[in-house]
Amino acid sequence: MTTEQTEATPDEGPAPALSETELAAMAPEVLANSLSEYLLALWRRVKGGESGMLPIILGLVAIVVFFQIERSSFLTNGNLVNLFEEAAIYVVLGAAETFVLLLSEIDLSIGYGAGVGAFVIAEMIAPPINFPWWLGILIGVAVVGFLGLIQGTLVTRLGLPSFIVTLGGQLAFLGVMELIANADPTAVGGSIQISPSSPVYKLVLDNMSPALGWIVLAVCLVLFAGLRLNRSRSRRARGLHAEPLGVTLLTIAMVTVAGVLFVYVCNNNRSPLAVVRGVPWVIPFVLVIILAYSWLLSRTRTGRYIYAVGNNPEAARRAGIKVDRIIIFAFVMAGVTAALAGLIYESTQSSMATDIDGGQLVLFAVAAAVIGGTALFGGRGRMVNALLGGLIIAVVYDGLALMGVAVAVENIATAIVLIAAVALDAVVRRRSSTR
């Protein structure tokens, strides 16, 4: 804090120089007064194993480059949009898992939680019930959220390991889903169709008009830039250390370029037969979820407590935090988010059937969170990690499929990416802790 100190008291010397480890532990914006200092601090952090997202982004870029060299059709706009749509469900499931992983718990039930949610939604909006789509989604979300509440309560009140409780949940939710399907005579062969006129269908299978895509992007960019600049300005006005203006401007510029490229790719026609263009609705849907959750984790008391409990439950308890409630909340959020993943699933399929593989989906959920950099032992991880991790999984599957590799090999490759991501993390961590 000496950086901000104006007057020096007699008995205080200059702040002692920091060790490399200490420097590495700090967010770059904490130390930097200029763009170049910021980049230097960022580099120290990467070397020190506190790298944040940079290696993951570099890994993603490397994989993309590899596939592009192997198959020139990889970076076509048709394939890219396809890939984003595939990533959507992994990202949302990863976000669901992140809530519990942050508390060093695990939820193995969210794959079939998604199944239950999707079934409830499909039943509610189809004949004979015919509820409006939003009410159907609300009910589906509430049902799976309630299942999460039960699991969270078993974990906290009875002190059962979440691994076992949610393993039971996985099986039980599969049963619940089949019961729903059996009870509905219109679900022929355990399958319900989603009407093409329903927004549930359109979520993945329909697109924003190109003009709307640009307008939404413009509004978001203006908001982003405004908030970012305003935040720096108000911190400076209060005499607090703010990130250098150069960094703010560079961030805004990079986000703008990424956004424009993204909308441009989506707005180009991607079908050889008919004209298919525009940003698929599911993409803003996923981004809003990630944004809202990030905001919850970083700006609210509950979010702060999730990190505290995940790192040191005893300290959290002594600070007066109701640890059990935080854990239950995380399981409810995992359920709620699983239902939203179920919504994406049924929209992709344009129907909902009992053959959903919830066992595999939950593996993708954990993989997305962990590949993206969320720790299994609690207290470390963010929602953007799930976004990046989900994207990496989709890229690997999509790229290998383009190369004509068998599904069995795709699975093995994804497993290797998962192990590699965790191993890299472990190695870097060990290096930084033995210094």
Binding site: T9, A25, R235, R299, T300, R304, Y307, N311, N312, A316
Partner: protein
Amino acid sequence: MTTTEGNGALLSLRGVKKHFGPVQALSDVTLDIPAGQVTALAGDNGAGKSVTIKTIAGLWSPDGGEILWDGKPVHLSGPRAAEALGIKTIYQDLALCDNLDIVQNMFLGHEHLAHRLLDEDSMETKARETLKELRVTTVRSIRQPVASLSGGQRQSVAVAKAVMANAKLVIMDEPTAALGVSQTRMVLELIKRLAAGGVAVMLVSHNLNDVFEVADRIAVMYLGRLVVQGPVSEFTPQTAVEYMTTGTAKHAVQAA
């Protein structure tokens, strides 16, 4: 010199007893802790120091005797009740979250909100002021995670947290036990400043060097009893050791 000069003490224990089954952990503890002074609680292993501070912190309720706060009897039904009075205990493990930064740790459980959202700027400003008052200047940024701090700095954060919660009595259990020489010095300086600011400090320590350097008063426990208390000038390291190991001293400097 065992009793009675403590009228006007912030906290007084009068004949406090506590047993665990057949074990009489505290058999008679009479102790005064005045505001604005550092009271060191010394004693051999098993003498009852930890049970005493846990009783003051509201974790154990005594089986007998009285606890007076500002001269009035109080019943400490739990840690919350003790904290509400202004009693803040810093245990050896410090209870910090390594993944949170200094500001976040200092406000854990007492976050400032604006429009129901975390008001980071207001918390940062307040944390900075508090650290400045305590002259904790060796941390580079109050936005660095606690994991990156040295032992002494972590101790400082724990103390600052107590100060910010408007603690009137800060109890520290072996604050220098795990620290090297310079870190110990830094923490002892901090303890002095804390008392100079009007806070009552109760320091549990094995280390007589620390005790004689920082304490205004010394209290010694022996086998569950408080055997002697008084200003530091009434002790020498030799008599203190004698009290700690035998419960009495043949060559007491001066009876009060």
